[in-house]
Symmetry: D2
Subunit: 161 residues, 4 copies
């Protein structure tokens, strides 16, 4: 792949190859715990550490609907993050457990939007809300894919039934 990467964005001008719309109906829940390496000098989880948890929740959610992320990459497809927004409501302190809740919606052919809520296990405290947008990229060409690999399409179609 050349060093001159084509731009990943804007994605809004892209015409989807089909009218596939899919979304996970329920929140997928992924438990996490604030370990020492997640914390910073304040004894709370460093703001960037949450992104690793959000990625893990995404990978495990895809896995739960039959899409193995490592297989996807082997098929020549990648799902880079192109947009990210996060609100940090309350800090999570070392040793505390939490649930990363995520829900995916896929509707424009190439964009996948993931919504997030990170909560206390009993649901009474809200630590973070956020949204992450991924696009489907052809790893070889470094370009956004207009045609999804059949395996990905099939997994997503399962969601719409």
């Amino acid at each position: 792949m050349s060093d001159q990467q084509p731009p990943l964005l804007p994605t809004n001008a892209i015409a989807p190859d089909e009218s596939l719309q899919a979304k996970t109906e329920h929140w997928f829940e992924y438990p996490v715990k604030a370990q020492p390496h997640h914390t910073d000098y304040g004894g709370i989880v460093w703001h960037g550490s949450y992104l690793a948890w959000m990625e893990e929740a995404r990978v495990e959610c895809l896995s739960s609907i039959g899409m193995d992320f490592a297989d996807l990459v082997k098929l020549g497809c990648d799902l880079p993050v192109v947009e990210l927004s996060v609100r940090y409501h309350r800090p999570l302190r070392m040793g505390m457990s939490a649930i990363v809740k995520t829900r995916m919606s896929y509707s424009t052919g190439v964009r996948m939007d993931w919504n997030y809520q990170i909560q206390s296990p009993d649901g009474s405290e809200l630590y973070l809300t956020g949204q992450v947008t991924l696009v489907t990229v052809d790893r070889e060409k470094g370009k956004i894919m207009r045609q999804l690999p059949p395996a990905v399409k099939d997994a997503l179609l399962k969601l719409t039934r």
Copy 2:
């Protein structure tokens, strides 16, 4: 500090203790290089690694106007991130250098907004744009400060002249 942290947000209801407004006039520039540990399986910088660079640029920008971040923390003040939004335009590949450009505006008494652009050294390529919002928190009480520590206020006031 108790485990029951007070919420950091919303910040919009907060009345500033004074009408202090400050912003850095020019972009502060912080050079970075994509090292192996920043990359992921795709050979590009992992999306979370940029947050570390953005934090470093912030700390060095504050330092350039006379605010030492470690001193600030010793004074009992913290500046946690409460909001974050990022657009990833082009991937940065292993070995590539870039400039993190940042500019701060402080205007509501307790919020500091930082704008970001990450560019190629010659300015021809744009990799990332983003915004990060910090609030000033009293570390002891875990609460948003309505009175800035004098040292912080002085450093910020210097910006307005």
Copy 3:
């Protein structure tokens, strides 16, 4: 705490406050999975990512014998790493699962030695072997503790029975 930190080492000259000897008899097992953020450009787990897993296994092993790490820190005690050695036998690729096995021995009053093996879930592949040494430090004074906090001593004594 002043910037002039006292040295953490050497630890060999330290006379233990008592003849407490303890070790976990069985390997504690902690399952992990190689997520995208753990990998580097090679598609394998970055060598430093293993240290986070090893720390997590340590914290969960202590927890399993009744020592909550966050509580320990609140009691004014810390357990910094003072020595570390690792051999990387085989790479772990993105998407692969593994078991971090660890076993602790505590015998010189202030040192805790942790042995590690990271293996495939079926035990047929060995990815990493390592050893990590911690010391018990008084957080206030920044000095190695010669007297363990009673709660820690009690938890360790349980191991010897």
Copy 4:
């Protein structure tokens, strides 16, 4: 590359393809600063953060003798870490600067040994000593290379003159 990776070790049984011996005569010096994201709950640099700095120093040292690490990877060669040992002498606190000193010796055909000292800028304080061993691996085959790529050999030969 298959999931069944060949073992990277033992390396001691490997006969070097030639009697090439090389080492950097002087310590290469790489300045670092403890940023918030490097720290943990203790306000000191997390023990794993040092590995990122050590890698950066290695990459920049190789670059200083004409070996661009990203180019090396593009040539199909990789330099994974196979062994690592570190002693943490004193903690580095948030905001402190330090110098990562490293020196490479290459003598057995496939192993590169890197020695490390992390010191205060004035040399009066020693924070860390360590050693890291790399091997040269053919990325395609996932096997240790017995023949170095000519570009690598040339760069190393320059060191012996």
